[in-house]
């Protein structure tokens, strides 16, 4: 039964024109970033070893100065991490300049996951409320499937749709990026957290980066889903969720400067890469703390959505 319900939802999503517009826009987005990157790197000369070494050393002097003078703890930890990375590069003779390849290109287009975020929020916010707007909820709910089954089939469809878009983004980036920049993946990505340096293979890093970015998307679509189920209005859900998508992290960062309680904010925990790159918002936060927080938030969103969907009289 649950599988049939998901098939139904999937059919409804893919019989709407807006869905194909979203897929189209995503691919156009990949094309634009790829062409932009291509023209940028075309005339670029890679600096010689001497040049980049002296550049990094000079940078480190500036970072050291910053580390000593700043009172903003984000700037301070950034300075520490950059120094660590630069020292690692100097020591292991790894140039920060590298010929563009498909993986480095993909690193630079992870921001397109924000676009996926918007699309998934749009679907998540409308998948329940649209049934009420159209009046089809009446026919949907007078069947032997329970209301909770229907609700969770809808949520599962939102998540599947997000994964589907992620696959589209990944595949089109590989195909378009690969044909423009080649598949050479010998270079590495270097990151640091709390002064500790991590060296990644490009391929692995891109995978982790995409996955981590989708956590924000995932949580916000659950949030949009909850709001739209509670208020049966897609516009409120879309407005709040997209706003949070764009300013949530920034707002939490500001909060983090004022109080350690910011660690309990959703956005302090959505980016799991901080534990390898850049460091967490509050120093003593751990990876497992973030996972627990994410699970708690998700259960809160889904429980509220479930309670509201089950209880209410349908009066459309």
């Amino acid at each position: 039964m649950f599988w049939s319900l998901i098939r139904n939802e999937w059919m409804k999503v893919f019989n709407r024109t807006s869905t194909y517009v979203m897929i189209g826009l995503l691919i156009v987005g990949v094309l634009i970033t790829a062409i932009y990157t291509f023209y940028q790197q075309k005339d670029q000369q890679l600096p010689s070893e001497e040049e980049w070494r002296s550049e990094l050393m000079q940078q480190n002097e500036e970072y050291l100065e910053q580390e000593k003078t700043t009172i903003n703890r984000y700037i301070k930890s950034h300075a520490i991490n950059q120094q660590a990375i630069n020292e690692y590069r100097l020591e292991h003779n790894i140039s920060p300049y590298d010929k563009e390849n498909v993986w480095s290109y993909m690193e630079s287009n992870t921001s397109l996951t924000q676009m996926i975020g918007v699309f998934v929020i749009l679907i998540g916010a409308s998948i329940v409320s649209l049934e009420f707007k159209q009046g089809t909820a009446k026919l949907l709910l007078v069947r032997s499937a329970s209301r909770l089954q229907i609700l969770f089939a809808k949520f599962a469809t939102v998540i599947l749709f997000g994964l589907f878009l992620l696959v589209i983004l990944f595949m089109s980036s590989i195909i378009i990026g690969g044909s423009l920049f080649g598949f050479d993946a010998s270079s590495t990505h270097i990151s640091a957290s709390n002064g500790e340096v991590f060296e990644w293979s490009r391929t692995l890093y891109v995978g982790v980066d995409y996955l981590s970015n989708s956590i924000t998307v995932f949580m916000l679509s659950a949030f949009a889903f909850m709001i739209s189920t509670m208020f049966r209005s897609d516009s409120i859900a879309i407005a709040i969720s997209i706003m949070l998508l764009f300013i949530g992290t920034m707002a939490t960062n500001i909060l983090g400067l004022i109080t350690d309680w910011a660690r309990f904010s959703l956005f302090a925990n959505t980016d799991l890469t901080v534990y390898f790159s850049g460091g967490p918002m509050v120093e003593d936060m751990t990876f497992s703390f973030s996972i627990v927080m994410l699970i708690l938030y998700l259960s809160l969103f889904l429980t509220l959505a479930g309670v509201f969907f089950k209880k209410r009289d349908v009066s459309i």
Binding site: M1, S4, K12, N15, T136, V142, A145
Partner: protein, 306 residues
């Protein structure tokens, strides 16, 4: 035979307002039961409670013995319904709409879907999106949707809304056939008296949340004994009136153009025709004015209508 649908003392309160009060009635297999009332009387609210979209405050509703409140799944499996307008997915084709609802029930095959489309004469439009449909087509697709899983009880809210006269006739014939051949119980709500009169076996009148009356549509027993209003058309009404007045002095006669109107029993009517013809008054027609459902409806709801 036991009732398919049974409402027992159903109440619905929203806040302090009593929307439905103490509503009870039964619907039996093979019967078309009308649910008649002015707009806002509580027809749709009652239907919503029967299908579980709205929870009742008190009382119980059972479908073949399964309570909608405590055994929802078993109860709802036996119901096919359209609540208010036939709102289907506008961006899906007719066939995909049925596939969608078919997947939500057990044992609905591709063949069932095609059969239902043929039944409501929509097989020619099965690949057309519902947003291109007329209201009549949507109504028919709604009925196909309601009948997809062979329910024992069909609940249709204003099913002939938006249909042209031919369409209305078609639906009527169709529903009678379904009730009779498949022994399905059908509950139809309407604010139109003629509708109920033409299609239903029994009906209930609901008014301001109360059932004021439940009865059969054909009230033939009254006709056998009672006195009824007769209209008699003759070539000479004035002479006819005089003749009757002298022979039956206790009857009150009113003359209306070519007609004379009077209250008679069946036997008296026969005697009067004999009297007139034997006195060379030509009788063109004798009309028995049957009290229509409409009059009974206004009688029952007198003063309650706005």
């Amino acid at each position: 035979m036991g009732a398919v649908l049974s409402l027992k003392n159903v109440d619905k309160k929203i806040g302090k307002a009593q929307i439905i009060q103490d509503v009870s009635f039964d619907v039996y297999p093979g019967e078309i039961f009308g649910f008649l009332g002015p707009n806002g009387a509580g027809k749709t609210t009652t239907i919503r409670m029967i299908v579980g979209l709205t929870k009742m405050t008190a009382g119980d509703i059972t479908v073949n013995g399964h309570s909608i409140a405590t055994d929802y799944k078993r109860a709802i499996e036996q119901i096919g319904t359209i609540v208010e307008n036939p709102e289907l997915y506008p961006y899906l084709t007719a066939e995909k709409n049925l596939i969608h609802f078919g997947r939500m029930s057990k044992n609905v095959t591709k063949k069932d879907i095609n059969d239902r489309l043929k039944l409501v004469n929509l097989d020619y439009a099965k690949d057309q999106k519902v947003k291109t449909f007329s209201l009549g087509m949507k109504q028919r697709l709604g009925i196909a949707q309601a009948m997809l899983h062979r329910p024992k009880l069909l609940i249709l809210d204003e099913p002939t809304n938006g249909l042209d006269p031919a369409g209305i006739r078609e639906i009527r014939t169709f529903l009678r056939k379904v009730a009779k051949e498949e022994n399905v119980a059908i509950l139809i709500s309407s604010h139109l008296l003629s509708e109920i009169e033409h299609i239903c076996d029994r009906f209930a009148i609901i008014q301001e949340g109360n059932i004021t009356q439940i009865e059969s549509v054909s009230n033939e027993s009254d006709l056998k004994q009672g006195v009824h209003s007769y209209y008699i058309e003759t070539d000479n009404p004035t002479r006819a009136q005089k003749l009757i007045e002298t022979t039956f002095p206790n009857l009150t006669i009113t003359q209306q153009e070519q007609f004379i109107q009077l209250m008679l029993t069946k036997e008296e009517a026969g005697n009067i025709v004999t009297l007139l013809t034997s006195n060379d008054v030509v009788v063109y027609q004798v009309v028995l004015e049957k009290q229509s459902l409409e009059e009974r409806f206004f009688e029952a709801t007198s003063g309650g209508l706005v």
